[in-house]
Point group: D2
């Protein structure tokens, strides 16, 4: 598991470009005997969010081939189809249990300090500017290890186990395309996990996160008309001013009386010369809410504000959804299963349940889908000593936590495929 | 002329309610032998701007009757039709020359101090809260006196003389309705005048004002949805916030590179309880510009802003034009005629020509109409010692200036009906 | 109790003007044998919020005298000192238990419909435009009835019972002045109640409200400089624009990550003529938050916004606190006492505990004070069939709920003065 | 003159880095016999605006040495002191006449098309990304040619001739530092010129520009505090929001009633991640006005807005003046001199006087200084067929216009040093 994790870390790939990781998983699971669907079969092309430019697809495809990915297989994942689903049906009838793991790394430089473990142990990212600084390398290696354990059962369990490896968790960009492709059809129990979130010591376990905030990420572009700001200001259409008005009024969207909401304009860039009416302006926006009603409310209000700002200043508007995931909470029943299993794991020192997640997580999109079809879902946390916080250049987790995570995953799988739970 | 002016002052009536004044003018001119069209014949009902409530129509109609207006005649002017046009055709062919006078007083208390001449001489306004504080009482009495002089000619002149008495100059509300009713059809020369504007000493004359600013007055109402601001802020639609956004963005409409512009949100009133999301908000707006292009520009920009603000905050919008008049400047040729005539008037001490008006004036709407049909227009100023500025409670002008004004008007009439001018 | 309530209803008085009510309570309690402190002895003059104009003080003082209040006593309460505190010490040592009742009615017309019970039963408000539309007439009559019951014990209880009658609950204006005057010194248990809040059927009881939102009410005045909007816009200082900017940016104060917050600009009025740069603008603002940290946060942020807006547009600023009360929640231990007592009252059909209040209530200021000195507090609800919602012209409650309320109050008093509670 | 111009074009240098040009001018004028002051002697270090980073100083210093500038002399101009003043005193007493030329090129790629004359004739800029796209290469070569003509007079004229070569005209960054260094002391007549502004055909002459707009260029940086936008929005201080509020309210600064004004926020960049409260935001602002009063007005108003926005959102503010020049107009008397001279130049086809400049120009800072000390100033235009507009990559002027310009400059010099003008 540690070897897998280090290999993935060294070949870090950003969202929708995880060709190396996907081929590695595919090869490993095929060897184990899993039945696999991959690429466009499990990714709805039109539901993919926040795709990178073609040059990124090309670059990371070529890098994967260079680093040993088999070319024909790699083509399955090329151009933004880097997901796969593996299925193993038990000999006895029983529930469908899905486990989900994410494949992507982040943009961002990795620490080059000698005391950064990937430097010291020589598995630092070879793809400069891309860094597994959120632990997804660990998640994928957990998925591979779980796959091995399940395979070893040779079908001696009740129901079906489905392993989902998703691309582009960062930015909430990948889950929706797998959901709309139907990969959760028939799932009764959904299990996801994350290393080190609100459990930052090895041995701690969060047996179920609640109120994972739903979120929509919008990219907004205002297109105006430039003009000489002294000679003909009236001939301009000020895209920057439209963006400034939109930003202020987005922040002024009233609180929802029932569900907590968040709005952020993370970046705004407009204009290109001091003496010219700005013809272009771009904003990146993030909306979050703790439930579906308040997320819908804030989304509608935000779109009104943005459209109103464009009309107000006579500029054109293009808007795209760069990411999005619904809100979700772990079902207490599955949380209890994780807690019970974790309590039996020897290295586990502390288990807390029903813990607010506070941020957003693409797994929630899958949790909602399962819950809406009557299933139950849990997202749990594997505590780990961290070298630095998530998304930091010096992020690194304690590899000892992987063994704990695997024990829990195997225990949960065993519990859920043994018979009905309370 | 002084007696007429004092009678009109004592019976001050606000715009569209000048029933006493109109019947007085009608009676006088009929007696002199003028051919008269009055009321709906010279007022396009649909083009009237800024009408008062019916209760005002009723109140001032009743007051006029009480004060001696003949009831059947008064009905001609009832409910906002208080204009009239008198025509006298000369025996010789020649140009059509129009003289325009305004009838209305302003809302506003009149000074009750003993040294206020209307108090001392006992012609203070009997209609409490309505005050001839802009000198239109003088203008109307000048019109009556000019009518007498023309009548005395018994048609011994070339062309046609047309006297236009318009309602509701204040707020730029009345001229447009007379223009669209066609009262300026065929007019070759248009002459208007004002007492005491940028000529505040008796004996001064401005022989022609330039750049009378065009203006549009808008009343904007945002209609939202109230809600308890603590329990259900998301159920509200904040009309006040829409108005605040509109106000800021109206002020931010870019300068026009060619023509000077002005924007003012004169009043804004919104909301009705501290703990309720405001459901209603109202703004009174004034747009001005020195030429037609920049007035059109600012008007379009303002409407975009207002509509955008409504969309932005999800509120309904009603908007009405409460007043409006195009920009205009006196033609230099007619300015020269006024200057030449004025130079011959014994009490005149000082004549300046081509003087920027700086404000707006409803006569400009008529000037533009005449200029657009190929005629020429002038708007001149009759200097007068003022007790206080226009629209002030203590405003009063020097009645000696009336004789000067009449001499100029008669001289201009004589010049323009004697033959072609250079 | 019903007679008292109807008498108070008929003599409805607004906040800080409750001279009739205060003298009535004083007279009654004196007769019963209570030891009373009144007026400036229990009201810190400088801590009074949202005082009405002197003319209101004078008017309602005169009305109280006309309606039978004894003049010398009435002077105790004159000019905004309409509170009183009655004390009865038990023969045995024990805790200090305070019960608080509010005296004031609201501004607002009362329904004149024949089916409005106060009309039908002839106790409609004789003070036109002032209406007991929030049930405080009932609260005060409950206080009088409780006083009678306690008096009947003739000191046969442990500890001290303190009855607090406060002015100006509406707008959160009166409690703070009594707290800073020290009326809660030594209080171990604080008990308040309200008729009909989230318990709108007679027989229901809320045994303890939680998260009563803290609130600050600010009145903000921007003072600029008027100017002719066409001739000299640069000479103005636009107070209305400052207010609009403030309003928008107040709404844009970021959410607090921990405590729920609310902001409302309830009213905004600015400017006085369409063609003049607005010299004055006034806003009424309400801030609310569910805990002290987030209330402090929103208060500081609001003041920065308001000051920044004044600086931005070069206008002067005056600001006053028109009301304010801290956030509070009922202590579960006292909630349990109320619940246990209520369960024994025969007409009670349904008891719920720990119910979010959602709005604000001036009693919370007293609850916080008691809790900060180590005591415990409860605010409970007496269900009542309502003719219309609180603050509605047709509001009326079911007088049968008064007997229920009294039984609970007496039971709670008995419990708390019998010995220590769990 | 053409050889000089092409050499300067090939060695284009940006503002404050014109070491090659300054040493070339110094060498040439020394050879001719002019008395020269250079570098820090004529540049007030503290009044320099919009200095580039040290790396630019170093780079262009090294380039100048590489291209033949003498190292010791070049050091005189190093690190932003690239100005010089040459003086020749006539043998007879008379007025001090200053001629000013600018040395700098612009940032921006130069056209590489074969039909771009500098490409065809092989004098394209060797400093990649720096381009003489505003004709200052021509201005400097005119200055050198004028110097030769004056030198040839060997002092046979009345008064003193002073040649001013200034750095950093672009962005209005260099003139002020020379003015405050005193280079205009005693100047009676100031003469400046530009190629191709509103005279875009060879043979046209504008004998005097009016209303060169005064301008101030501000760079504003807001420094806030970042925070996780979902978990702790209240811990952030939103620099981007402050910038948006500032931008909107800068645009809303009221028109000045007398002088035309312009405001532009040319660029705004803020924030660095979608999910983080933006900690930094930067704006580049340009203010312009047609007279000193309105420029002062708009400057004060802008600073209030910017400071108010910082206070409003609790962020720190740093602001620097990146450029600035006062408004000015050519004196009609000197305009007439230029017109009279130009009318005698054989290739001149058309002369217009008193033409609004509409934009800004750093020479105006010197014109104002001379006018304030009682002297007279003119800024005239040398018409030229242009390949493309100023600041365009394909900009090039007709070198034939240089001879015309030189004839006018020599004629003006002769006129002004021959004796008093009307």
């Amino acid at each position: 598991m540690i070897a897998d994790r280090r290999d993935l870390h060294a070949h870090a790939e950003p969202g929708w470009c995880e060709v190396y990781a996907a081929t590695k998983v595919y090869d490993a699971l095929t060897t184990m005997g899993w039945e696999i669907r991959a690429g466009a079969a499990v990714i709805d092309a039109d539901a993919r969010l926040g795709l990178p430019p073609q040059s990124d697809f090309d670059f990371f495809f070529a890098r994967a081939i260079e680093n040993g990915a088999e070319a024909d297989l790699a083509k399955t994942f090329r151009d933004g189809f880097t997901g796969l689903v593996a299925v193993w049906k038990g000999r006895r009838s029983g529930p469908v249990v899905a486990f989900r793991f994410d494949l992507d790394a982040n943009r961002g430089a990795e620490s080059e300090r000698a005391d950064h473990v990937p430097v010291a142990r020589r598995f630092v990212s070879m793809n400069h500017g891309v860094h597994h600084n959120c632990g997804h390398d660990g998640h994928t290696s957990l998925g591979l290890a779980l796959a091995r354990s399940i395979a070893a059962l040779d079908g001696n369990f009740a129901g079906e186990i489905r392993l989902i490896f998703q691309p582009a968790e960062e930015g909430l960009r990948g889950a929706r395309a797998m959901v709309t492709a139907g990969v959760l059809g028939g799932v009764d129990y959904f299990v996801g996990c994350h290393i080190g979130i609100q459990a930052t010591r090895t041995g701690e376990v969060v047996s179920g996160y609640t109120t994972i905030l739903g979120s929509d990420k919008l990219d907004v572009h205002f297109h105006g008309v430039g003009a000489h700001a002294a000679i003909a200001p009236h001939e301009g259409r000020n895209a920057l001013l439209a963006a400034c008005v939109a930003a202020q009024n987005l922040m002024a969207i009233p609180r929802h009386g029932k569900g907590d909401t968040r709005i952020n304009i993370g970046t705004l860039v407009g204009g290109n010369a001091r003496n010219t009416v700005p013809a272009e302006a771009t904003m990146t926006i993030e909306l979050r809410a703790e439930d579906a009603d308040s997320l819908a409310y804030i989304n509608e209000a935000a779109r009104r504000v943005i459209e109103g700002a464009a009309i107000m200043h006579g500029v054109e508007l293009t808007m795209e959804v760069a990411g999005g995931s619904g809100p979700a909470s772990s079902d207490p029943e599955l949380d209890a299963v994780v807690a019970a299993v974790a309590a039996q794991v020897s290295q586990v020192t502390h288990v807390v349940s029903q813990t607010p997640f506070k941020g957003s997580e693409d797994a929630a999109e899958m949790m909602r889908a399962v819950q809406e079809q009557g299933g139950k879902a849990v997202y749990f946390g594997i505590g780990s000593d961290l070298a630095a916080g998530h998304h930091n250049a010096a992020f690194d987790f304690d590899e000892a936590s992987l063994a704990i995570g695997l024990d829990i995953l195997c225990g949960v799988a065993a519990t859920l495929t043994a018979g009905p739970i309370a």
